[in-house]
Amino acid sequence: METRVYQKENNLNVWKLLKASVSDMFSSRFLATQLAVRDIKAQYRQSYLGIIWVFITPLTTAFIWIFLNSSGTIRLTDTGVPYPVYAFSGTLLWAIIKESINTPIGSTNSARSIITKINFPKEALIVSGVFKLLFNSSVKILLLIIFIFVYGIGFHWSLLWLPLTVLAAVVFGITIGLFLTPIGMLYRDIEKLINFTLGFLMYATPVVYAIPASGIMKTIMVWNPFTPFILTTRDLALGLHPEYLTYYAVLLICCIPLLSLGLVFYRISIPIIVERMSA
């Protein structure tokens, strides 16, 4: 029979916590799927436009930039590929990363009513968030692939990397999101601050324009950790040679221990947060 002990001291063995976290994730896969399906169904049942909402924001952002560029309102440096594809791929990928960062906090927040009442593996919330994210992202990727063919770039073998690089971007976003979740559950400011910051950060990332050849903006954009995720994914999808592979690899390698730490932190934090939430 399973024995549980609750006391004030937290078990601080990171390995044990991580193992428990991963095994909870595995054992609660049905719950995670169920929650994801519930949310996706509920989202579309009360809507006529349904799935369109998943990509309408990135599309409109891209359209604005395409229009600004083609009408000559602004002059952008040559991106090496048809600009619409560049803009679409940028905004779609950016939307995926943005959603990934918001996912842990969002799915934990929306489960407030159950985490204060029922003891279940909270990791299921993260996993269900990832499922929803992957569902939404696959719609966006499909759209991106359509653009790639419509604009005559056509098929490249490196296109097959796309799911993996998108997954890497998701992992990157989730890692950031996990560390912000506990504090974000306490203060509503965090969620607003995230979106506010990301709104600015988009312009310091080669989303709708390329990295300039020189200047302060170049330094910022080169060091911006979001840059390699956008660029590598786009380069591979469009059949270009990826430039920031080293930085990309370093970030990815950092992501794995950080993601584990994030999960452990999340696991320790939940009881502390539940204590501060209303019933």
């Binding site: 006391q7 949310d39 029922i118 934090s269 501060r276």
Partner: protein, 421 residues
């Protein structure tokens, strides 16, 4: 040979029974603090997050604006036992349940829980209003830890128990609150927990369903250790074997004596009912209970189990109506204002009325009430010869009876005179 085997079997049965009495819940000097102020509470939350990373093994002391919601509580619970948690609002009952359920961590002490824990804290938590009952059964089941296969197997049973066959494919947002609770309970009742935690969940729902639920709970409770929070003393009396009375987080244990716990709970409410005469026809000029005048303050009358009570009334009627038959009802109510006993008498008004003053003496014999606090109320009704009924008035809570009860193994307010053979 056959005999030997039989003896062995019965021996193994005995040891099996003993192992069933293992301690499932062990609570050792548990304490938990809470913060009164939201902003401060959130800030402490941030601090706790930071100290949480380093383990926070320090002794926890009260910080400004904090108080002990649960203070130094210890008990053991075995299979088949049911612990009732009673106390005023905010006494720390729900906090204790949350710790036992593993939702929050204690600030001192330790809880050891063996086996699967089932909690009926809020039924249907996590129902999505847009989705149908069918879909919500799967979702809620998943949250409670069932697998898809288990839910599919139990699906028909759940729907049948909830009596929602017709509405199972309707969005839950169109369910009445009672229907939601029914569905929530039906799903949760499928759990086979070793430890069951129930927090006053059945406040909604019609009587028929409540009875069904309590029967189900009784059925489950024999197989598990149960912790039951309720403000309904009859339910506590019916289900629990032990009781903890909590007052501002401080527990008082009543193990094996639920009646005493209920008595202590009832008398913990100091606000007494005030005498309240509601009548357009009369005023009260004298009330005596056991010879003591209680007219101006509803004095507490102490009696022992089985004593008789003498009530004397003088009512001054305002006008010389031509009253016909007047019926007096003396009603005994318990602390939750439920009428539990009654004595009635009808008089011909013209025989007893003297200058508008009506007096009577009622001798209530053998008050076989278990120890608690009870109130007395008088209802006055006139019956006319043409069959009309005319409510003349009520004298509410004119006396409070503090009964020193005799101990019963099970709790019920009235003990019957009985002959056994």
């Amino acid at each position: 040979m056959g005999n030997v085997i039989e003896i062995k079997n019965s021996l193994s049965q005995i040891s099996h029974n003993e192992s069933e009495e293992e301690v499932l819940v062990n609570v050792e000097s548990l304490s938990k603090k809470f913060c009164k102020d939201l902003k401060t509470s959130l800030w402490y939350g941030v601090k706790d997050l930071v100290t949480g990373i380093s383990g926070n093994k320090n002794e926890r002391e009260l910080r400004p604006k904090e108080f002990w919601a649960v203070k130094d509580i210890s008990f053991k619970l075995r299979r088949g036992e049911c612990l009732g948690l009673i106390g005023h609002n905010g006494a720390g009952k729900s906090t204790l349940l949350k710790i036992l359920n593993g939702l929050i961590n204690p600030d001192a002490g330790k809880v050891t829980v063996n086996g699967r824990v089932g909690a009926l804290i809020e039924l249907g938590a996590g129902f999505n209003p847009i989705l149908t009952g069918r879909e919500n059964i799967y979702n809620n089941g998943a949250v409670l830890g069932f697998t898809r296969k288990e839910i599919s197997e139990k699906f028909d049973e759940i729907v049948a128990f909830a009596e929602l066959e017709e509405f199972i494919d309707m969005p839950v947002q169109h369910y009445s609150s009672g229907m939601k609770v029914r569905l929530g309970f039906a799903i949760a009742a499928q759990m086979e927990p070793d430890v069951l935690i129930i927090d006053e969940v059945l406040a909604v729902g019609d009587v028929g369903f409540k009875i069904k639920c309590y029967n189900k709970i009784s059925e489950i409770s024999t197989k598990c250790a149960m912790i039951f929070v309720s403000h309904s003393m009859p339910q506590i009396a019916r289900i629990c074997t032990d009781c903890i009375l909590m007052t501002h987080g401080v527990p008082k244990l009543f193990f094996g004596d639920v009646g005493k716990a209920i008595e202590a709970y009832d008398s913990s409410f100091s606000n007494r009912e005030q005498i309240n005469t509601i009548s357009d026809f009369f005023s009260v000029s004298e009330i005596k209970v056991n010879g003591e005048t209680v007219l101006n303050d509803n004095k507490q009358i102490q009696i022992n189990f089985g004593d008789s009570v003498n009530v004397y009334f003088e009512l001054s009627f305002f006008k010389e109506y031509n009253f016909e038959d007047i019926l007096f009802s003396l009603v005994v109510t318990d602390k939750s204002q439920r009428a539990i006993a009654i004595a009635e008498k009808q008089f011909k008004a013209k025989n007893k009325m003297n200058n508008g003053v009506f007096s009577f003496n009622a001798h209530l014999e053998e008050m076989n009430l278990t120890g608690s606090v009870y109130s007395l109320t008088l209802n006055v009704v006139e019956f006319k010869s043409n069959g009309l009924r005319n409510v003349l008035g009520r004298v509410l809570y004119f006396a409070e009876l503090l009964v020193q009860g005799k101990k019963q193994e099970s709790y019920a307010p009235i003990v019957l005179n009985s002959t056994w053979k």
